[in-house]
Structures are given as C-alpha cells and as structure tokens.
C-alpha cells in the first residue's frame, strides 16, 4: 500500500480500507484478483453447467463428455420427469415438507431463543448447552427410534410424521441461530417495555420479533433448504408413493432401477429440484440483507 495514494490529486482522502496502488502494478493486481475469482466461480459452476446442457440432450445422443450445448435441444426430459415420473407431485410434497418444517422450527425456536435470552431461571445455561449439543447428533442416529415412535403413534405415511421429525431435527440449529441474534438485542428495550407495563408476550411479539426479522428470515431459509434436500426422513417416514419427495424420487431415478442410466433424464430431475432453491435464495437473500440494514439502527 502506498500512502498518500495520489499526491497530485488535490484534497487528501482518508485511507480506504483496500486501496490498490496506481499504475501497471495495480492493474496487474486487479487482473490477478479477478482471474482468480473467475477461475473459482468456473470451478463452482461447471457441474451446474454440465447438468443444464445434459438435461436438454436426448438420451440416445448423450455421450457423457459434452462441454458444448447440443445443437438440437429438447424439453422432452423435463416433460417426462414432470408428468410421467410424477415429479409434479413430488415437487409439491417437497415444498410442503420443507416449508412446514421450516415454519414450525423457526416459530418454536423464536420463542425458545427469546426465553433463553430474557428469562432468568435455574439451569438456563445448562439447558441451552444441552440444546446446542444435540446439533452434533446426526439424523441417521435417531432414525430408527424415530421410525419406531412414528409407527407406534400411527403416523407413518401421514403428513405430520416427516414434517414434525424434520422440524425437530432443525430445532437445535434454529434455536442456536436465533439465540445468538436475540442475545445481541439491547436489553434496555425490554427493560423499558417492562417498566411500561408490557407482558413478556407483548415484549416478544412487538419488540423481539420485529427486530429479529433478518435472523428469522435466515433461519427459515436455511431450515427450508435443509429440509428440501433431506433424503433420510422422507424416505423412512413417507413411504407411500403419493408422499414421495423430489430427493427420494431422484434417488429412485438412479441406475439401479432400469439397469441402464438415463443421465439426461436424471439431470432434468436434478435441475427441477434445485431450481426453487436458487430462486428462493436469490429472493430471500435480498430480504435478509434489507432486514439487516433496517435492523442495524437500534
């Protein structure tokens, strides 16, 4: 870094956090930086690109090594998976599972996180540590007892089973995330509300929730993505065909089913499955950022 950056430039400026040296060294640095970032992006996007171009090829034309789009693209693969293989229904099932589980987990976690931040009770720290510790337990460990429990309750192959199980598994993470955020809200706001005569419920609803909007959006989004992508829970608890989710459907599209693998068909299915995530992320990320900016002024 050279400072001052431009002695002939007239009025001095405060040092910018990342000011590049002027001249050819600066230009070279910029090229190197951008080159690196472009290469990184290419590495990340390459699989998606291959997936996309493969999904528009005919199974007969597919040779598995194409890096250029086909000259005769077809929507046939999409039509097949969507209508013939039942991805339309699976899409709805996945949406129901991920949105409901994320909503339940976020709502319960908001209350729990508020309690952990604002209520004083014996064993609070221990309880919070216990909740956070359960994040380390993988779903695969609890799937058998969960399955037995749901069978005993008669819930297997019914809507609540996978939704509740998924929400339960998401809950520790959601509580952790929201607690981290709510803990930073100024306690004076709640003390002012207490002196003003507001009940805990009113403090939660009118002060904590509006301020936690960015964190709520983040929690909901991350939870929904997790539930959308989950294979295990719906595979075990939603075994009925009309409850198959996209991830289960994709797994069943694999080579084991027909002996030979129809890669373009599989790629069309994968594209359908990640499309809503990409859209949701693009939309919600903006909301999260806007929320963060608004929430920043306290």
């Amino acid at each position: 870094m050279s400072w001052p950056p431009d002695s002939a430039g007239g009025t001095p400026e405060p040092p910018a956090p990342r000011r590049r040296p002027h001249g050819w060294r600066g230009a070279l640095g910029a090229v190197a930086d951008h080159g690196f970032l472009i290469a990184l992006a290419a590495v990340c996007l390459l699989p998606l690109y291959v997936m996309l171009i493969a999904s528009f090829e005919r199974a007969a034309d597919f040779d598995g090594a194409a890096l250029l789009p086909t000259l005769s693209p077809t929507f046939e693969n999409y039509r097949t998976v969507w209508t013939e293989l039942g991805f339309d229904r699976m899409f709805v099932n996945s949406a129901v599972l991920s949105l409901s589980a994320a909503a339940i987990a976020t709502a319960l976690a908001a209350g729990a996180a508020f309690g952990f931040t604002r209520l004083r009770f014996a064993g609070r720290g221990l309880l919070l540590a216990g909740v956070v510790a359960t994040m380390a337990i993988p779903a695969i460990v609890v799937i058998v007892p969960l399955s037995v429990l749901m069978t005993d309750l008669g819930l297997v192959d019914r809507l609540p089973s996978a939704i509740l199980a998924e929400a339960g598994l998401l809950l520790p993470f959601a509580i952790f995330l929201l607690h981290t955020y709510m803990r930073e809200l100024p306690s004076e706001l709640f003390e002012a509300a207490e002196v003003d005569g507001a009940s805990r419920w009113r403090q939660f609803r009118e002060i904590a929730l509006p301020l936690a909007r960015p964190a709520l959006a983040t929690t909901f989004l991350v939870s929904a993505i997790y539930a959308w992508n989950d294979l295990l829970i719906p595979l075990v608890l939603w075994q009925a065909e009309q409850l198959t989710t996209l991830m289960v459907g994709l797994a069943l599209l694999g080579p084991s089913r027909a002996g030979t693998q129809n890669v373009p068909l599989l790629m069309a299915g994968v594209t359908i499955s990640i499309l809503p995530l990409a859209v949701a992320f693009a939309v919600a990320r903006r909301a999260v950022v806007r929320g963060l900016v608004e929430g920043g002024e306290r």
């Binding site: 100024p186 706001l189 003390e191 507001a198 009118e206």
Partner: protein, 378 residues
C-alpha cells in the same frame, strides 16, 4: 405523583461486588432530586432499584410509603427514561408514545387523545409517523420523554438522558426538563455524572461515591459546605483544591493554619462558624480551597509563595493553576486552581503569592476526610 424512598438499600452481586452499600434517600412528592457521582458509584443501580429492574439484596424501596420491593416494574407505575432512550426501533413515534398505554389496556380514544396532547406539548406532531432512526438525537430524546410523560406515572426516573446530546442541546434540554418537571409537578429522580447538570437542575442533589450517598443537600450547600473531601473534589467547576495544613493559635489567641510554611490567620468568623476547629488545634487538617477561595498577588507579596503552572483562558474567565511547595500531604507540592477574570496577570513559570480567603475555606479531618464541622442546617 408520589414520594419515593430508598431505606438502607444494599445491592451485592454474585462475586462480591457491591453497587449499593446502605443508601438512604427520600424524595418528596413533586421534588426533582438529582443523583450525581462518578461512573460506577451506584447511582444507576439506585435508580433501577426504584424502577424494579434490580432487586435489592437488603433494604426497602417505598413509593408513597408503601414497600414495593416485591412488585414487578409494571406494578410500580413509574416511568423511566434511559440513557440510550431505548425507543422501540420497529415502531413509529406515535406507537412508541402509545406503547405503555396499550400495554396497560387504555382505550383507543383515550390513548389517541393523550398521544396528541403530549406530541403538542413536546412539539412532536410532525414526527408522529417517523421511526426512531429517522430522528435526530434531540428528537429521540423528546420522544423518550414523551413516552414517559404520556403514561402519567407516579414518578419519573431519568438515567443520564442528556449524555448523548451535544453540549448546546444539552444545555437547552436541561432547562426544558426543569420547566416540564415544574409544570407537571412531577416527582423526579435524575441521574447524571455531570456535576454542572446536577447543580443547575436539582432542588436537592445527592452526591454518591462507592455505593454510598456522601451528601444530600441543596446545590448551594454542596458547594459552600461540602460534607467531606470527596464532595469538595467533585462539586464545582473547577472543584475545590485540597491542601495540607497544621492548625495552631496565633499570638492573640486567634486560630491560624500553617500551609506551605506560611501562617494563615483564619479570623474570628471561622471559629464562630466551626466551633470544632478549636479542638483540632495542634493537629493536621485538610484545607479545601474553592476556585473563588484565594486571590493572586505578585511574587513576594503577603501569602503562600507559589509558581503559576498553567493559565487556561475560558472566554470570560481564566483558570489559574498555582503550584505551592510543601502544601500537600507529607510536605509534597500541591496545586490550587482558581477562577479569575480574563485580565488576570498569570504567566506559567511566574512566581506569585496566594492569599487565601479564610471565609471561603473548608476544613476536613485528614483521617476520615469528613468536614470538621458538619454544616448547620442549610
């Protein structure tokens, strides 16, 4: 409005830190009481204890003579203005103002009427639809005041409400709060670390240090008859300077104090005002010299010889720091700070003579720091 009292209030935290070590404070109905002291002295804790945000370890909080120690903050019906204002960021000014009324179930029509009235009183009418982040510091401060007033509580508790404002606005708001308090006839406890704010606002001021009230008195009495060396060093701008002296009797039997090797006659008035001085003859004492407690003469004139260390011109007046050899503890040098007109002849390094004004001096026990005579009723 109501009277407030802290009786033998103690607050200890787990780990042993004590914020309050036996505080007795009585605030009359309609009185503006200021709690002042350095940071960490317990003034905010005392205020929070009255509000119910802190539970006392020992002692009682009374509102209108009733022990409210077991009551939740909401049930105490006091309003508090926080240093940070604590405005609810997601609500408009109007909703901020009406929050306490909604929480207490006041009917909508009545709520609207009171909010409009307060908005008019505090000139917030144009701002009712704005959110806190769209307001300036002074406007936020007014909204915080309005939120407290609109509830018509039994008492107001103010925790350094002006400390986030710039100096000019602070002076202006200081006057507004005093006028508002008088107009509402409100009982108010006002916490500040700024002794100028304390002296200009309070009818009575309680000076706190290390969890105790050192002195609770009128501003004039605090300045003129400080109860101990802490109050003497805290109140006044600049505060009093402390010198060491030895009390003796002159040839005519009148009291004199030897400071920096020079005998200063205290005059007949000193003994009449403080009979305890006679008993201290022969012993050391601490002499408090307020900023208007001495005159400056050129070096060699009658007085305690010293050297000008610093002269600070503050516009209409000049603060002169004079170093006096042998006038401090154990014969060390000590500095007295005096306030003079802008024309005072004082150049750093110049020898001068400090002529103490006996009537303006205070005398303290060097062991306990307490004034030799606690002031008569002010």
């Amino acid at each position: 409005m109501a009277s407030l009292a802290l009786i033998g209030a103690r607050k200890a935290y787990p780990g042993g830190a004590e914020a309050l070590r036996g505080v007795d404070l009585a605030v009359a109905d309609g009185e503006l009481m200021v709690l002042v002291g350095p940071s960490g002295c317990g003034k905010t804790t005392a205020l929070r204890a009255i509000a119910g945000l802190e539970r006392l370890t020992d002692g009682t909080v009374e509102i209108d003579g009733e022990d409210v120690g077991a009551l939740e903050p909401a049930a105490r019906d006091v309003a508090m203005v926080f240093q940070s204002y604590a405005l609810y960021p997601s609500m408009t000014v109007a909703r901020n103002l009406s929050f306490g009324l909604r929480a207490r179930g006041v009917a909508r029509a009545e709520r609207d009427r009171r909010v409009r009235e307060i908005a008019r009183l505090l000139e917030l009418e144009e701002l009712l639809d704005r959110r806190p982040r769209q307001l300036s510091g002074g406007q936020r401060q007014r909204v915080a005041m309005g939120r407290a007033i609109v509830r018509e509580p039994r008492a107001f508790l103010m925790d350094e409400p002006l400390s986030n404002l710039d100096a000019r606005l602070r002076v202006q708001m200081r006057g507004e709060i005093v006028r508002l308090q008088a107009r509402l006839g409100a009982t108010m406890v006002y916490v500040t670390h700024d002794q100028v704010e304390a002296l200009t606002m309070g009818r009575r001021v309680a000076v706190m240090d290390a969890g105790r009230i050192r002195q609770c008195d009128t501003p004039a009495a605090l300045y003129e008859r400080p109860a101990d060396t802490f109050v003497a060093r805290f109140i006044g701008s600049p505060p009093a300077s402390l010198l060491r002296g030895r009390l003796g009797e002159g040839r005519d039997g009148e009291l004199e104090c030897v400071i920096g090797g020079v005998a200063v006659a205290l005059g007949a008035g000193a003994e009449a005002a403080r009979p305890a001085l006679r008993a201290a003859v022969g012993g050391e004492l601490v002499v408090g010299v307020p900023a208007d407690g001495f005159a400056l003469a050129p070096g060699g004139a009658a007085g305690i010889p010293g050297t000008v260390a610093l002269a600070e011109l503050l516009g209409a007046e000049t603060l002169v720091h004079v170093e006096l050899a042998g006038a401090g503890e154990g014969g060390a040098a000590a500095t007295v700070v005096g306030r003079f007109g802008r024309g005072v002849a004082a150049v750093p390094g110049d020898p001068v003579a400090v002529a103490l004004v006996p009537d303006r001096l205070d005398y303290f026990d060097p062991e306990t720091g307490l004034a030799l005579d606690r002031p008569a009723v002010a």
